[in-house]
């Protein structure tokens, strides 16, 4: 990947961009556009810079987006759009790309209380939507990347998991309709919006293209730009605003009476897994997360963590004695409902030999963490320990399969902790949630590192590759297949899925105006730079699992 900073845009093309969005909303000043080139998160390149766009443009309306993409296409350039722009996947993956920053499109157009949805523009963040939704007794799904991220972006274009997935599902499932500017500038309205019936359904009576829009991951601007979307909202039985003082570790929130905050611990993995299935089936949690004590300590008290990792007893407690547990928040619309939920939880605990610690009365704890669980307000604290974090490939599957994946993740992480490639969080940092009160769940392994440590930077790519290989060897799909290098290796093992994506892209984007690097492109990966053992494992995988023209391998 070239990180060339010298690429330029012609004066004529630049004038057309100015014409489309106004001269004050376009820049090709190197210092300005370099601010779009620094993306250390989700970037395994030790440089941490990404390819510099040739210009940055900020449209303020759907019409301006249309004019912009047409101008870009006319001049043989490409576009890459983002909403809030956090992470390397927001950035250009090739040369000649105009970065489209959608922050001027920041309105909540409607909150339909009766039909429980909101219509948004791209730069509305999760915290804004939640604050407004709660005023009318509703709530919105907040993704794991936190409340600064755009609900529209995660619903239409990128992942979308969070602690509330048990109750509010993941972002792609909450997309009810969208206004979509295709790469040629035409507008496509999907869902019920597409037949002029409003925003209430993603599956018609207008065209339902949610499968194409989203797939499992989203196209990350590879299929056009979404300018409005309707997002499903959910019941919120709490107050219109949770009164909170303080900002995070000093936070003090008023806890609604109809809310319970519980930690559970189980004697072994089997008991934990069975209990979690029961908890989900019983529709108990509003918020659910597997408890990673290493994660909690490293995030909340990173200085302490650096001391505790040297203590054998603490390490054993975290990694063995208290390993099996989950945290849940329950809410209820009535006292009777809460009594039922508490009773069921107690029964599950009794059945599987677990312990439920109701921390609702432990005021300092719940009052400090309540907003974090409801809004994800502590997410960027993950940077405190080292300055940067990464997530090993995430995946969605049954809870049992997720636990297998978490176990593998701990093994890989411990190896790299021992090698000094990442920070020591006792290798206990799985981000795990359940979906839609059922057996389906999500897992990704978080690891923290210091971006100013050359050894940590050098370890990023090998760790990323190792997780991918581990997944492939277990016939697990590494869902974050946004890396064009890995995609080229993995796609043939999965029925050459990218060829289908490329056909969709070719149909919707005949002039190739969208930057499809995060969507369906494939580029060569120089496996020779890997350690021999890893190279050998990849070669065996390719040989064993790749599809041929005749079909799947034996």
């Amino acid at each position: 990947m070239s990180l060339d900073v010298q690429q330029t845009i012609s004066d004529e093309a630049y004038r057309d961009l100015e014409e489309a969005v106004g001269p004050e909303n376009v820049s090709r000043e190197p210092a300005v556009i370099d601010c779009y080139s620094w993306q250390p998160f989700a970037n395994d390149n030790p440089e941490r810079w990404v390819i510099r766009p040739v210009a940055v443009a900020m449209p303020g309306s759907t019409e301006e987006v249309q004019a912009l993409v047409k101008a870009i296409g006319r001049h043989g350039l490409k576009f890459k759009a983002f909403s809030t722009g956090w992470g390397a996947y927001s950035s250009p993956t090739s040369e000649g790309v105009v970065q489209v920053d959608l922050r001027r499109m920041d309105r909540i157009i409607d909150i339909d209380e009766k039909n429980m949805y909101a219509v948004l523009e791209p730069y509305v963040c999760g915290a804004q939507l939640q604050a407004e939704a709660m005023k009318v007794g509703l709530n919105t799904h907040i993704i794991g990347a936190g409340p600064s991220c755009s609900p529209l972006a995660s619903a239409t274009s990128a992942w979308g998991v969070g602690w509330d997935c048990c109750y509010m599902s993941y972002s792609g499932r909450n997309l009810l309709g969208a206004e979509w500017v295709l790469p040629d500038g035409e507008i496509l309205k999907i869902g019920s919006l597409g037949s002029g019936k409003g925003w209430f359904s993603g599956d018609g009576p207008g065209p339902s293209l949610r499968g194409i829009v989203r797939g499992s991951t989203g196209a990350l601007s590879g299929l056009g730009i979404f300018t409005k979307a309707a997002i499903k909202l959910f019941n919120w039985p709490g107050p219109p605003q949770i009164k909170t003082t303080g900002m995070l570790l000093d936070a003090d929130s008023e806890v609604p009476e109809n809310l319970r905050f519980c930690m559970t611990f189980w004697p072994d993995r089997k008991s934990q897994d069975e209990a979690i299935y029961k908890i989900s089936e019983s529709e108990l949690p509003y918020i659910f997360s597997r408890t990673g004590l290493g994660a909690t300590i490293s995030i909340a008290t990173p200085h302490l963590m650096k001391i505790l990792v040297k203590t054998k007893a603490i390490r054993k407690a975290v990694t063995a004695d208290m390993k099996w547990g989950c945290t849940l928040i329950m809410v209820a619309d009535s006292e009777g409902e809460m009594a039922y939920k508490e009773g069921v939880l107690s029964e599950i605990a009794e059945q599987y030999g677990g312990a439920v610690i109701n921390l609702t009365e432990a005021k300092p704890v719940i009052r400090m963490f309540l907003m974090n669980f409801l809004r994800g307000t502590a997410v960027p604290v993950v940077f405190r320990m080292g300055g940067q974090m990464f997530t090993a490939l995430d995946r969605n599957d049954t809870w049992d399969a997720q636990m297998d994946w978490a176990g593998m993740g701990e093994t890989v992480k411990q190896k790299w902790i021992d090698r000094g490639g990442i920070l020591d969080d006792m290798a206990d940092n799985p981000y795990m949630v359940t979906y839609e009160q059922n057996t389906w769940g999500h897992c990704e392994e978080i690891f923290q590192y210091d971006p100013r440590n050359p050894e940590h930077l050098a370890a990023l790519e090998p760790i990323f590759v190792e997780f991918s290989v581990e997944a492939a060897e277990r016939c697990m799909e590494p869902l974050s297949s946004t890396d064009a290098r890995l995609r080229k290796i993995i796609s043939p093992m999965m029925g050459h899925y990218t060829s289908w994506q490329q056909k969709i892209s070719g149909f919707l984007d005949r002039d190739r105006a969208a930057d499809t690097g995060m969507y369906c492109d494939e580029v060569d990966f120089d496996v020779n730079k890997l350690e021999p053992e890893m190279r050998s494992r990849i070669e065996k995988l390719v040989e064993k699992y790749s599809w041929t023209d005749e079909g799947p391998p034996e």
């Binding site: 900073v5 210092a31 080139s37 998160f41 722009g85 915290a127 405190r384």
Partner: protein, 418 residues
């Protein structure tokens, strides 16, 4: 220090954009969720705290160059510290405001200067104030007051009025009133009158560090000569300089430093001022950035790896002055305080700071109007604050927008009640 010294801070930016938002716990609405006037007004990421750090990093690495346009971008920032306070909710290892200050110093050292700021510097050199007003008129605000002249006498308390309060005729009654209240309470207070000079805070923020140090030396020697045990200033900019900048530069004033809101509050607490008169007014309080998050005392330099820095040594804004003015308001009969959404560490800036009022007045007034909108949304009749720069730009913005919101200084309200 040089830009290179902040490489770790700049490289630490994860580009999470927390610097653009009110800390997430405190986002209460769509309308007032953002915290940075610069990026809200100009939109490009380069106008955010993160963006300015990336700009510095880019310049340091030679990926881009400092030119007039880039300097302009760097200076379209009030240096209000909202980005830093939001960042430090999550990070121990980044001192965002320090990077912004260093970037400005780099502009000055590189000759990328803003004309209006050069005029401020010239005015300062000629008349000892950044407003270009005659030095001889600096003491006019205090004519007829019975305060001591600390140029010839000693006093327990030295009152440093600051540039804007001294010269802005609309604001002069405020400082007169403050000193009158101190005198009425029996405080042995002195002023420097026409000999008072700028504290140097504003030019420090513009990147002219050497000149700022000279003015600090001047004030230090004046305070020491006065024999004052307490230095009181009504200027929030000045307060931040005295509490943070001076100790940081190694300038020891050798006395207690208080903002006038704290000092008047102390007099109320001690019963030396007794607010008795009803002031039937619903008000909202604007936390001046340099009284609040930027008014935190200097906590000492941390020489080691910032990842290991204890939280007690982070300049996170928590130790700023927030409660003292609210307590004074609470002591006044009839005053009802209605809080805005963005307060304390995450208060929205008035728009005047960092040389913006002088170089980019439209931007300053725009930011002030945003704040007036927020104040109006509370339903309060008046906005109260305690900083002359805030008051000036609020009055300008109110006049321009036709806002019916009254603008008061805390001292004005307290005086009404006595």
């Amino acid at each position: 220090m040089a830009l290179e010294d902040y490489r770790n801070d700049m490289e630490g930016c994860s580009r999470c954009s927390s610097c653009k938002w009110v800390p997430y716990n405190q986002i209460k609405s769509w309308r007032f969720a953002k915290n940075c006037p610069s990026v809200v007004r100009h939109n490009f990421h380069s106008y955010s705290g993160s963006g300015r750090m990336i700009t510095g990093h880019s310049i340091l690495l030679g990926r881009s160059e400092l030119n007039d346009d880039v300097a302009d971008m760097i200076y379209k920032c009030q240096m209000c510290g909202a980005c830093d306070a939001a960042c430090k909710v999550y990070r121990d290892d980044i001192d965002l405001t320090e990077v912004l200050l260093e970037l400005r110093a780099h502009c000055v050292e590189s000759g990328s200067l803003i004309v209006e700021h050069m005029m401020m510097l010239d005015a300062l050199k000629a008349e000892d104030n950044v407003m270009g007003e005659p030095k001889a008129k600096r003491g006019e605000w205090a004519e007829g007051l019975a305060a001591k002249d600390i140029n010839t006498e000693t006093a327990e308390v030295m009152f440093h009025a600051g540039c804007r309060y001294s010269y802005d005729e609309e604001l002069r009654p405020t400082v007169r009133g403050a000193v009158q209240m101190m005198l009425a309470a029996g405080v042995d207070v002195g002023i420097a009158g026409k000999e008072e000079s700028c504290c140097g805070a504003r030019i420090y923020e513009l990147g002219y560090r050497g000149e700022a140090a000279n003015y600090a030396d001047d004030l230090v020697s004046r305070v020491k000569a006065s024999g004052a045990k307490t230095l009181v200033t009504p200027c929030s900019d000045g307060y931040a300089a005295l509490k943070f900048l001076y100790p940081r530069m190694g300038k020891d004033l050798g006395c207690e430093v208080m903002h006038v809101s704290q000092f008047l509050g102390r007099l109320v607490d001690e019963g030396r001022l007794r607010p008795r008169n009803e002031v039937p007014l619903s008000v909202t309080w604007h936390d001046p950035c340099h009284l609040g998050r930027m008014g935190e005392p200097f906590l000492g330099d941390w020489a080691g790896d910032k990842l290991e820095r204890p939280m007690s040594m982070k300049r996170a804004g928590k130790k700023g002055v927030y409660d003292a003015p609210r307590d004074v308001l609470a002591s006044i009969p009839g005053v009802e305080l209605i809080e805005m959404e963005r307060i304390r560490e995450y208060s929205w800036c008035c728009g005047a700071g960092g040389g913006v009022y002088e170089a980019y007045p439209e931007f300053a007034v725009w930011a002030a109007r945003e704040r007036l909108d927020e104040a109006a949304a509370t339903g309060a009749e008046a906005l109260v604050t305690a900083c002359p720069w805030c008051e000036r730009v609020f009055r300008d913005a109110a006049a321009e927008s036709g806002s019916s919101l009254e603008i008061y200084d805390l001292a004005d309200i307290l005086l009404k009640s006595l």
